[in-house]
């Protein structure tokens, strides 16, 4: 008894504009309630919408990145229903003529297989406000700050057949919109919302009834929710029941999905073209102008990093994790004149990334700039410091003590490379450890490490390890 799973995702991405889609109120997150809701956002009598120029270019960018048709004549429609967070009693959206048409996105699964997922369309619409509970007994509070924030609703074809595929698609889209600079991808703040439509069917049969999973803001939970929903539907049908078309929420504590009381009792939205707005016309020139601003996309960047810098797939993936990371890396490589790309990559994927994660910072918030990191790497390359000392230097830079040069100077960390000094150190250690010298000469070559350790200790870690090694070997012959 086999089952086919059909999943389609609807992603709402908040566009990174300063002002709202139809008014000049700010879209900044976290403002005091209703401080960013102007009369137009509140739907007051006589107020009218005027379209924000910035949403057009951002929509075209996404369309181009998805290899999609660009809707050269798109129309805003009204979706009519009543709810407290919907001040006008309708949402301005695009129904029949969206700004982006059919496109596609290629995803890669954990086992390396690739699959092309169709994107049906992407359209512009305005976000609703927020309901707040608990302010007053028996009352719900409404904050309209978010009302009017521009959204791009990205609808996939129902091409995914497992929770993993769905999450791979969602993550890829998440990465893409951030790379394009059109959405900040902050799922905690609601800038990137994924709704999953899930249904099951026996092979060869028509599509089953789907349930919609909403309000889940982490990829991990989205995956779990979809998996548990698939199980639920299969169990339900196998025991003789029928799946109801409804919206469901994910209960993380109990790992189940549960039905949400629907906000719109009658789903007759009575879409019709919004008479306060006129058709949006996009010319070929407009599209080409946007195309020239298209940044290098993640896949292309990864491929180039492997080809141009000889990086491993793994390193390339980590370094292209975000556009900011990739740009930071290329900056560091450039500043060190590509003398040792692998070293730059290692520092970025280990020490730098670890510090960011530890302190919960994004690349753009890093206290160490690309110039600073490059400066430090230059000192490793010119033997001023060892890799080990560099770790101290990095940490000091991170804490704001200054540039690599300033720290090396103030902490006197410069590596000892003077042959005379090293020779003296080697001689001293060998003279003080005669037993271990005998052991080494008797065949315990591992003793070399002990000597190196002693020398490093005696030099405060500053002796150049390579030179120390070479000299030890020579002296122990």
């Amino acid at each position: 008894m086999s089952w086919e799973v059909v999943i389609g995702l609807e992603i709402h991405a908040q566009l990174t504009t300063k002002s709202k889609i139809f008014s000049g109120a700010s879209t900044a997150y976290g403002a005091a309630p209703n401080s960013q809701a102007c009369p137009i956002d509140i739907g007051m009598p006589g107020m009218l919408p005027v379209l924000n120029q910035a949403v057009i270019g951002k929509s075209i960018l996404l369309g181009l990145a998805l290899d999609a048709e660009i809707g050269k004549r798109s129309v805003f429609d009204r979706k009519n229903y009543f709810y407290p967070d919907l001040p006008k009693g309708y949402q301005t959206t695009q129904f029949e003529f969206p700004i982006v048409g059919q496109g596609k996105l290629e995803i890669e699964l954990e086992d390396g297989t690739k699959k092309v997922i169709g994107v049906t369309r992407a359209h512009l619409e305005e976000d609703a406000g927020k309901s707040v509970h608990g302010l007053e007994q028996g009352q719900t509070g409404v904050d309209l700050n978010r009302a009017g924030t521009p959204l791009l609703e990205i609808v996939s074809d129902p091409d995914m057949s497992s929770a993993k595929e769905a999450v791979a698609y969602a993550k890829k889209m998440h990465e893409l919109v951030q790379y394009l600079g059109i959405c900040d991808g902050n799922m905690q703040e609601g800038s990137f919302r994924v709704d999953s439509n899930v249904s099951v069917r026996r092979p060869g049969e028509p599509l089953g009834t789907r349930a919609e999973l909403k309000n889940i803001n982490s990829f991990r939970f989205i995956e779990k929710a979809i998996e548990i929903e698939i199980e639920r539907q299969i169990e339900l049908i196998e025991s003789g029941g029928t799946v109801v078309q409804e919206t469901r929420l994910y209960d993380a504590e109990n790992d189940t999905t549960r039905s949400m009381r629907t906000k719109e009792d009658a789903n007759d939205y009575r879409y019709f073209p919004c008479p306060d707005l006129l058709p949006v016309i996009i010319t070929d020139e407009d599209i080409e102008a946007v195309r020239t601003t298209m940044p290098e996309l993640p896949d292309a960047k990864r491929t180039r990093f492997v080809a141009e810098f000889g990086l491993s797939d793994y390193d390339a993936t980590v370094l292209t994790g975000s556009r900011a990371m990739a740009e930071f890396f290329e900056s560091v490589v450039g500043l060190t004149k590509e003398k040792d790309v692998k070293l730059c990559a290692n520092w970025m994927t280990s020490g730098f990334s670890a510090a960011l994660n530890r302190d919960g910072l994004s690349v753009t918030e890093s206290p160490v700039s690309a110039e600073m990191l490059a400066g430090m790497i230059e000192r490793i390359l010119d033997n001023s410091i060892s890799g080990k000392i560099a770790k101290q230097v990095f940490e000091a830079m991170w804490q704001g003590e200054g540039t690599a040069d300033q720290i090396i100077e103030s902490r006197d960390l410069k590596q000892i490379t003077d042959t005379g000094v090293i020779e003296a150190l080697v001689d001293e250690v060998l003279a003080n450890n005669l037993e271990q010298v005998e052991a080494y000469k008797a065949g315990q070559t591992k003793m070399l490490g002990y000597f190196v350790g002693q020398i490093m200790k005696a030099s405060g870690g500053q002796a150049n390890p390579g030179q120390v090694n070479k000299m030890l070997v020579a002296k122990l012959k």
Partner: protein, 484 residues
């Protein structure tokens, strides 16, 4: 003072023969005396008016005044006026003090025109008689048993009775022109997009247009100059160089081709009205114009099409009135649904509720194609009839309404009959074309207007024709005896 033309009023103000405060007070006194019986004003704003008149007098004194500075105006209660009750004739907004000005209100404030008050209207502009106002019907100054027309009935009445020298109205299906005709005054609906809709409480967005309601075409031209122009806050506002609507007033009508549709003079048109209209057109011929017959074959599709589209848009525009953020809220709502349903049922009058319901129905699943989409197609056909007709004429003339003003209560039970009486005015709104109504005579002792429709952007020409007609006739100077 109230019998002066605007030009004369302006000259005297500028010459210092009287002040704006005196002029404004004169009108406030008349309002206090006569409005109780007419019920043309919903709100009178004496303090604001005098305050603005004082400001205007300063401008008149220091030489920075314009032609209309200091001349008071009455705004239809559909225009949001900052700090002033703006009710739209409805219980739903009985407690609404607008926190902003409509664009045209700002424009006229800039000129320095004192605001006398807000005039009565059909609730949410839905009606042709002003009877559906929450504040009761306005009486026609010519016959207190008759309606003044609607929805800008209050505005028409204040001009006819001399309770304001200038008034603003809106026209969605004839709401400036028909009351102008019923009250014997002049009113013009401009080309769609010529005047900003920002701050006008929306009824049917793709039809609504604001315009002047005045004693004469010349007065209307001056007021339209002040009202019109591009406003970036209205996406449907036309971005073109603002014309001077008074520029062509003095032009001769020699060679003017007047199209008269054969379809206009059929059954249903009151014989006396037909006579007045034909006489008026003959007057035009005397002034050098030539009459040609034109055809508007899709004329009968206009009313059904309009009564699908306008209510459809209204059903959506009025969804914002839900008792949540402003306006009327029912007492002690039990839950959200109760809040919505009772606030809206109690706040809206019957005609508004009917149109919202019809409109929602026309947009609903299963009916969208047959009603809404079909009506949009008919809309184009009706408009194209005019475009075609204008190939062989410059303007089209005919009646504004099939009868003179009907009695209060006469049609309030028969909606469809009321709707059908808009047959001459509605086609113009469907097309977004400009049209003027000028007083042309009397039928059964009530005023009758002449309807003049022009191609897009021909307002200056329409006002020219109106003005020239008013040079050789005196219908526009007539006032009911008791208000002289």
């Amino acid at each position: 003072m109230h019998n002066l033309t605007i030009k004369q009023m302006s000259e005297k103000l500028h010459a210092g023969e009287f002040t704006s405060v005196q002029l404004t007070q004169h009108y406030l006194d008349r309002i206090a005396k006569y409005d109780a019986e007419l019920n043309a004003y919903i709100t009178v704003t004496p303090e604001l008016a005098i305050q603005m008149a004082e400001e205007a007098d300063k401008k008149l004194a220091d030489g920075s005044a314009e032609l209309l500075t200091g001349i008071p105006v009455a705004h239809k209660d559909i225009f949001c006026t900052d700090g002033v009750k703006t009710s739209c004739g409805s219980k739903m907004l009985d407690n609404f003090i607008a926190p902003y000005d409509a664009h045209i209100v700002t424009q006229l404030k800039k000129v320095g025109m004192p605001i006398l008050g807000k005039t009565n209207m059909d609730e949410f502009a839905m009606g042709s008689s002003s009877e559906s106002s929450y504040y009761g019907a306005t009486k026609n100054p010519w016959d207190h048993q008759a309606v003044p027309g609607g929805s800008s009935g209050g505005a028409a009445a204040v001009i006819a009775a001399g309770l304001a020298p200038l008034a603003t109205g809106t026209d969605t299906g004839g709401s400036i022109r028909q009351p102008a005709s019923f009250c014997g005054i002049t009113g013009i609906k401009p080309t769609y997009g010529a005047v900003s809709r920002f701050g006008i409480i929306a009824y049917a967005s793709s039809f609504d247009q604001a315009g002047p309601m005045t004693r004469s075409a010349e007065d209307s031209a001056w007021l339209l100059n002040a009202m019109a122009g591009f406003d970036e806050r209205d996406s449907t506002s036309l971005e073109r160089e603002k014309p001077d609507y008074t520029a062509e007033l003095e032009r001769s009508l020699d060679g003017l081709k007047i199209g008269v549709p054969a379809e206009y003079f059929g059954e249903g048109l009151d014989a006396d009205v037909a006579k007045v209209v034909k006489t008026a057109i003959a007057e035009m011929e005397k002034l050098g114009a030539e009459v040609v017959e034109v055809h508007l074959p899709n004329k009968d599709l206009a009313v059904p099409s309009y009564y699908v589209l306008a209510p459809a848009e209204a059903s959506s525009n009025l969804s914002r009135f839900d008792g949540v953020r402003f306006g009327y809220r029912c007492e002690q709502p039990k839950d959200l649904t109760d809040l919505y349903k009772r606030s809206r049922s109690e706040g809206f009058g019957e005609e508004v509720k009917r149109r919202i319901m019809v409109g929602a129905y026309a947009l609903s699943a299963g009916y969208y194609d047959a009603y809404y989409l079909k009506a949009q197609k008919l809309r184009r056909m009706v408009r194209d009839d005019f475009i075609n007709a204008f190939q062989s004429c410059d303007v089209i003339m005919g009646p504004v309404a099939p009868t003179p003003a009907f009695k209060i209560g006469e049609k309030s039970d028969d909606q469809v009959s009321m709707y059908l009486s808009d047959l001459y005015t509605i086609p113009v709104n469907l097309g977004g074309l400009p049209a003027l109504s000028v007083p042309a005579g009397f039928a059964q002792n009530l005023p009758v207007g002449l309807h003049i429709v022009g191609p897009y952007f021909s307002e200056a020409k329409l006002l020219n024709i109106g003005h020239q007609f008013q040079q050789v006739t005196d219908w526009h100077t007539k006032t009911p005896a008791q208000y002289q």
